[in-house]
């Protein structure tokens, strides 16, 4: 049977049309601007080659910090959300928990709220003297734990990451729960007969069978992590100083300074990072499948 007939290519046209016209084209045009001196102050746009890219790496500026922060954010937030998500999923699929659905729902809840709102609320909760968190810590006698969460160089980045995990772990948990439910109990039964411990079962059965799920979640987390903006912007605006600035907050500030070309250069660079890392992950994932 000809694949062409039952899988007609024109089925793709709708998606392709919208994507190309309203997303791909403007995206490519934007990347094109990164090779120019496009800015807010003159109507002409001149080609400057790789000048802007050179500036990112050579100019004496904070771009290095921003790039580093973006990588750290992506790495830590992906790992923490995945670990927390898996732990919660294991916990909430256990037979010993009462009211599993209530827990699952509560933990997933922040996922549906906008970053704008979450940032605004947490900024208030983190306030050192008027915020809920420090007030509570002081009230229960844990004064020594109270911190200047967003104002202290040592804590600002960690606080942002904590809020991110607060919002994002629920999604990972849900996906992993679905993955766990798909694993046939016979594997565990067989392992139990062989006398495997909980950790061994986790390591040799659960993790390998969850691999596709985890890979998928990781791609999502990484593409999200590299592009993080709303959360950082609304919590710290990159501060104190530039301690929590990431690439997209830098893009934003270049645009507001009128240096459009530099803004697009930074976002194009981000595009390259995300593309290569996603490609790498997908490659690893596919190779794994072949081995199986």
């Amino acid at each position: 049977m000809a694949a062409k007939k039952i899988y007609p290519t024109w089925f793709v046209t709708g998606a392709l049309l919208f994507y190309v016209v309203l997303f791909f084209l403007p995206g490519i045009m934007g990347i094109g601007y990164s090779f120019t001196d496009w800015n807010a102050y003159s109507p002409e746009v001149n080609f400057v080659g790789l000048e802007n890219y050179k500036n990112i790496f050579y100019a004496n500026s904070n771009y290095g910090t921003f790039i580093k922060n973006t990588f750290v954010f992506t790495l830590v937030s992906s790992i923490s959300k995945t670990t927390l998500g898996i732990a919660l999923a294991m916990l909430l699929t256990s037979k010993k928990i009462w009211g599993k659905n209530v827990h699952r729902m509560l933990i997933f809840l922040p996922q549906v709220m906008s970053f704008l709102i979450i940032g605004l609320v947490f900024k208030n909760l983190f306030h050192p003297s008027r915020g809920f968190i420090n007030i509570t810590l002081n009230a229960i006698g844990f004064d020594f734990l109270a911190q200047n969460w967003l104002g202290d160089l040592d804590f600002a980045f960690k606080s942002v990451l904590a809020v991110d995990a607060w919002k994002g772990s629920g999604y990972v948990m849900m996906v992993v729960i679905a993955g766990l439910n798909a694993i046939s109990p016979t594997y565990y039964e067989a392992a139990s007969i062989d006398g495997a411990s909980f950790i061994e079962k986790f390591k040799y059965i659960t993790l390998p069978l969850l691999k596709p799920v985890i890979m998928n979640v990781t791609v999502l987390n990484i593409t999200y992590g590299f592009r993080v903006f709303d959360l950082v912007y609304s919590l710290t605006n990159g501060g104190p100083g530039n301690a929590t600035g990431v690439i997209n907050t830098a893009v934003y500030s270049e645009f507001s300074k009128g240096n459009y070309a530099m803004g697009t250069t930074l976002s194009s660079l981000l595009f390259i990072f995300i593309m290569s890392i996603s490609y790498f992950i997908l490659k690893v994932m596919n190779r794994g499948e072949v081995e199986q």
């Binding site: 024109w10 709708g14 001196d37 800015n39 807010a40 102050y41 003159s42 004496n60 900024k123 983190f126 306030h127 050192p128 003297s129 008027r130 915020g131 200047n148 969460w149 967003l150 104002g151 202290d152 160089l153 710290t236 605006n237 990159g238 501060g239 104190p240 100083g241 530039n242 301690a243 500030s253 645009f255 507001s256 300074k257 009128g258 240096n259």
Partner: protein, 447 residues
Amino acid sequence: MKKNKQVLKKSKLLQKAAICMAAAIAIGSLSGCGSSQGEENVKDAEAKRVTLTFGSHQSGLPSCGVVQELAKQYEEKTGVKVDFQISPDAQWRDLLKVKLDSGEAPDIFCVDADPLSLYARIRPDENVVDLSGEEFVGRMADYAKECVTYDGKVYGIRFAEPKLNFYNYNKKIFAELNLKPPTTYEEFKEVCQTIKDAGITPIFEATQSAWHQAVPLCVTGGYYERLEPGLYDALNNNEKDIKDVDMMVTVLEQMNEFAELGFYGEDYLSNTAESDKTEFGEGRVAMTIASQGFGSSIAENYPEMEGNVGIFLIPFGDSNVLGINASSAAYFINSKSEHVEEALEFFRFLAQPDNLQYRQDNNPEEMGLCWPEITPEYPAEINEYINSLDAETVLQVGVKYIDPQFMDIGKDIEAMYTGAMTPEQIMENISQRRAEQAKLQKDEAWE
């Protein structure tokens, strides 16, 4: 077999047609709900019911809503509706640029205007209706006209008087501790120490808003100019590098010393600028940088503050010069608008003397306007004090390429407070960012 194939083909065609139809209907119904709206607008216009769109950033319009109220009165009078579209401050300049470039800007837009940045922000000659011939232009104060003038033509209307910044202080706290307003840095330091020892936060500071902490450094600009006459020109012509202005370094060092001495309290790195009213009103801080109208504006919520707020010059660097910031939000008419005449009529309405008076009376945050015909509401004591001072334009209005990096300077100062930067590094950064801006704008003085 052949027949079968044909039937199959036919049904496939039908199928294709059905899917296309479905898609067309879906899209059609969508565009239907869009265009019916559009048609309504057209009909409205025909029936002389014009809607003017008015785009602004949050801080461009008084938060009390007085402009919206005036617009309502205008609608009752003329039937022309004004639709306000308020965007977040942070996005507005960028957004407006995109909209102006594409010809999609609102009929009227509000943007911060000063002589140095007016052209770069809105390119008035291409985008804005010339108001020079209007009667009301003649009634605006000269400094206000200057801020909305390009190439000899007046393009905008504005209402706010120049921004002045003082330390507003709580008189009661000062009296109880037997303090008087300081005039030098050393006196200032002693005052703060005494207040701090009494368990009160001496100065309100808020670095989360990014601009607040940059105010003392920049509004002392008039003093830098007095110390070194011709400084602004030299900086604008790139004959002097800003990092060599020693007094700026001194002021930064002193601000940093205050942070180290704990004069900003515990929370200043988490505060946002808007909480100054609560903090000051409830007596938790003794001083805050604000305009001369601060005392009256908080008296509404904190009646005990009535007559209890005094002002003094920012004493960093022993400055004795008042910085004037004439720039302010101004309204402009989009020259590509289809309703230029109605928009002009709305401006004339806003500029009527009774409406100017209404505006001042109903806005607790504006005590005076840039319209000399309206008498400001300040207490006599404050008026006298201000008139006794030597005044000069602030740094961000007198010197090029400071205003666009105001938030960056704020960020750097915040970094200094956390120990991550030195005053010299901040000055180096300011200088570098000026050079970048100059290069972007192809400034000949920097070539």
